[in-house]
């Protein structure tokens, strides 16, 4: 018998030069907010203060939009597309060079395991800039009409689950298409966006092309409602997405909305069971389940359900929960107290409505915000935990008898962002993919992302696509429709 405990393998914090204070990034410079207000951002794994960042209000948003408009009309829209591409390549390379620093700051500010920020978030963010850099001078030949034009100034609001990656999803296509941007990072995770502002300076990006205004929902609303923006790009909750749709409804503004999800992960009897179990784990416990496309509804064919659940529980017992800076950690901290409360509240309805809760025996740290990996079995379509997005490491398990029933249950949701299919039979996979009403469907894998692949949802999961040629289309217009 052995005692092969992994010793602590912490990533060094030394590479992260987090400043004690940050201003707003407007017109290529860090400036103090007009009212001089600031707010704290903390490490959710320890509750320690990381930095104080500027709180932008309506007047700051106005300054940022004016700066973006000036950059758009005077510089960015006039610049040859090839030159725009060069800036994007330069940004991508600098992000790669500073990848370790970005990974450390992301993990400190967000609570996600360093393994994920190092191996997924940061490389993918850089990849988005590389990918879109290549598009900048090819837009005329890509089927967007003879002379596609940028929209102008774009207001972008991003969530806290993949802070830098969501920034890349927003800024890279906007800039490649020739727009300038004002971006508001999430309140709890502003730091990598501010680090990105430094990268813009380092790359010599013309002043005002990228503006970053930190703040909260009020800051975001000021951005959405600013009369001089041409488009809103938002990733976040369906609730806020609906509010944005309402507030721009009588304007000429367009919008891309990436909202919630409650993805079905379908396991058929002929699946490769061990790999399906890995996929289930990755589907719901990747990034603590703070993933809009998380596979949060596991729907298993009833005749293999016992086998799958037994293996799933054993595998869950191996999940290493704890210090996100440890290179061996699999499940990190919940991003905020507020989110933790929300997870706890919805999960409790699972208990109350008669589902069976199970978690492996894990020791959670005493400080910070934590939730154990959890599954609920015996869940039916009528349970709240089968319908509402929990956005945490909580999996609802349902079963089906026939493929038709699997599809019926999978589609019986107000969302339609993603879905997973596990089967070794190609024909069955293709058939199921055709039936599922979801924007992204993974077959025998889950949570795989690529800049070339469009991402977006059906129904209440949002409007439009991000990534790929489809995503670029959301930042372009033909001559006749140019707003300004």
């Amino acid at each position: 018998m052995s005692d092969f405990e992994y010793a602590n393998a912490p990533e060094s914090k030394a590479v992260a030069n987090i400043s004690p204070n940050y201003g707003l990034f407007i017109g290529g410079k860090f400036v103090d907010p007009k009212k001089g207000k600031s707010f704290s951002t903390i490490n959710p794994a320890t509750e320690e203060l990381l930095s104080k960042v500027g709180y932008g209000d309506k007047s700051d948003i106005d300054a940022a939009v004016r700066s973006a408009r000036a950059a758009y009309t005077k510089v960015w829209s006039k610049m040859p597309a090839k030159e725009r591409g060069k800036y994007l390549y330069r940004i991508a390379r600098i992000m790669q060079e500073r990848a370790r620093e970005f990974a450390v700051v992301e993990t400190l500010d967000n609570g996600k395991p360093i393994r994920e920020s190092r191996d997924t978030d940061i490389p993918l963010a850089a990849a988005h800039f590389f990918y879109h850099a290549g598009w900048a001078d090819k837009l005329d030949y890509a089927g967007f009409g003879s002379k596609p034009k940028p929209l102008g100034v774009v207001g972008q609001i991003i969530p806290w689950n993949f802070p830098l990656l969501m920034l890349a999803w927003k800024i890279a296509p906007a800039l490649a298409a020739g727009n300038t941007v004002v971006l508001k990072p999430a309140e709890t995770t502003p730091l990598t966006a501010l680090l990105f502002a430094e990268v813009c300076q380092q790359a010599g990006l013309p002043d005002g092309v990228v503006n970053i205004v930190t703040g909260d929902g009020i800051t975001g609303a000021a951005l959405v409602n600013h009369p001089d923006i041409n488009k809103v790009a938002f990733t976040g909750s369906t609730e806020v997405g609906k509010a944005i749709a309402r507030s721009i409804s009588a304007t000429k503004k367009t919008a891309t909305l990436e909202l919630g999800g409650k993805a079905a992960n379908l396991v058929f009897e002929d699946a490769a069971i061990d790999e399906a179990v890995e996929g289930i784990i990755n589907g719901i416990f990747f990034n603590q389940g703070h993933v809009c496309c998380a596979g949060s509804r596991l729907i298993i064919q009833e005749n293999v359900a016992d086998e799958v659940l037994e293996k799933l529980k054993k595998r869950m017992s191996l999940i290493r929960v704890g210090d996100p800076m440890d290179k061996n950690t699999d499940l990190g901290a919940i991003n905020s107290k507020e989110q933790l409360n929300k997870i706890e509240e919805i999960s409790k309805t699972g208990d109350a409505e008669g589902a069976n809760r199970w978690s492996p025996d894990v020791k959670l740290p005493t400080k910070g915000f934590w939730y154990p990996p959890t599954i609920f079995t015996g869940v039916t379509q009528s349970h709240r935990i089968a319908r509402e997005e929990i956005f945490g490491p909580v999996l609802s398990v349902l079963t089906f008898r026939t493929p038709a029933e699997a599809i019926e249950k999978a589609n019986n949701t107000m969302y339609g962002l993603s879905a997973g299919i596990w089967s070794d039979k190609g024909a069955k996979v293709l058939w199921a993919a055709k039936q599922l009403k979801a924007g992204v469907i993974w077959s025998n894998t889950f949570n795989k992302f690529d800049p070339a692949s469009p991402f977006g949802g059906y129904k209440e999961s949002g409007w439009g696509r991000e990534g790929g040629r489809h995503g670029l289309a959301g930042y372009l217009t033909s001559d006749s429709k140019v707003n300004k």
């Binding site: 018998m1 052995s2 005692d3 092969f4 405990e5 992994y6 010793a7 602590n8 393998a9 393994r115 191996d119 002929d270 699946a271 490769a272 069971i273 061990d274 790999e275 399906a276 890995e278 996929g279 191996l318 290179k327 061996n328 070794d424 025998n444 894998t445």
Partner: protein, 311 residues
């Protein structure tokens, strides 16, 4: 019994096994390779890996002198540091078993097992009669472990029952005297589905260990192959309550490789498999790298290669 010994029941069992998804298995193995094993856990892993090495010489040019010097290395891998454990076993050809046994006994390695490769190693291309004599010869010479090769030709042509029967017969010859390790030669089975089927087939036929490779065919003990085999012994234990060992062999040359193997064991079959009774690593060059890393961990600097012995 999970099968009744008939061809029909074996075929049914093997065809009911779930498939392996190649992409998923490789992704899982790659993820586990990112585990960061440092300080105290590294020290533990190095000593465990040393005690799991089946120190091997399987060359046409093997001589009594070569085998004897290997025995000395096996008993005392680092003569300058007696806290280094002995290796798991010595692995040689049949005709060297006697020499290895008497040399080990002479130099204080009585408890060290000698493993002999048998059944027309490495190709397995001989009649069953020859394979039986080959095995009997190894057992008679005093081999404590027999590393047999399966008939890959039979397996690939669909005659899995012939393979099963052959293992069963060889197991009978080994009896109580020798442990049976069954070499699948995964580099020739190629697909993970085949690796899974062959693993179960060998366990059902009586293998005490399932082993990846002869070391004569590449690729050999790749991480995904070992992962699939560890899943097989884990699932076999769930079915029968019986623990079967796993031996990756071939291509494991560095301490890093060896530690990755131990991580695979811990997070697949489980910690109970982290013992030389249930996990061995077939290697020759690996041992010196383990010794050098062990010195480095203690002294803080790398020694020249001349500080480890070349036997």
């Amino acid at each position: 019994m999970i099968i009744d010994g008939s061809e029909k029941s074996l075929r049914k069992f093997l065809s009911d096994l779930p498939p392996v998804d190649q992409v998923g298995a490789e992704a899982r193995a790659a993820m586990l390779a990112t585990r960061s094993i440092k300080t105290s856990s590294k020290a533990w892993a190095i000593d465990m890996a040393i005690s799991m090495v089946d120190l091997t010489t399987l060359e046409g040019a093997d001589t009594p002198g070569k085998v004897k010097s290997l025995c000395a290395k096996a008993v005392r891998p680092d003569p300058s540091d007696l806290t280094v454990p002995s290796v798991g076993a010595i692995c040689v050809y049949n005709d060297m078993v006697k020499i290895a046994r008497s040399e080990l006994d002479r130099i204080g390695g009585k408890s060290l097992p000698v493993a002999a490769v048998a059944t027309a190693f490495p190709s397995g291309r001989a009649s069953l009669a020859v394979k039986k004599i080959d095995t009997q010869d190894a057992v008679d010479a005093g081999a404590n472990e027999v590393d047999m090769v399966i008939d890959r030709g039979a397996f690939l042509s669909g005659r899995s029952y012939d393979v099963f029967e052959e293992i069963r017969v060889i197991k009978e010859i080994c009896g109580e005297k020798a442990h049976l390790k069954v070499i699948l030669e995964t580099g020739e089975l190629v697909t993970y589905d085949n690796v899974r089927k062959a693993s179960f087939l060998a366990m059902l036929a009586g293998a005490d260990f399932i082993k990846t490779s002869t070391g004569k065919v590449a690729p050999a003990a790749t991480a995904p192959v070992v992962l699939v085999m560890l899943e097989a012994v884990r699932d076999y234990f769930t079915l029968t309550g019986e623990k079967i060992g796993v031996k990756p062999a071939g291509g494991i040359r560095t301490t890093k490789d060896a530690i990755k193997q131990l991580v695979l064991v811990k997070e697949t079959a489980g910690e109970q498999w982290l013992t030389p009774d249930l996990f061995r690593i077939g290697a020759s060059a690996l041992l010196n790298d383990l010794l050098m890393q062990r010195m480095k961990l203690r002294s803080g600097h790398y020694a020249s290669a001349n500080y480890v012995t070349v036997d």
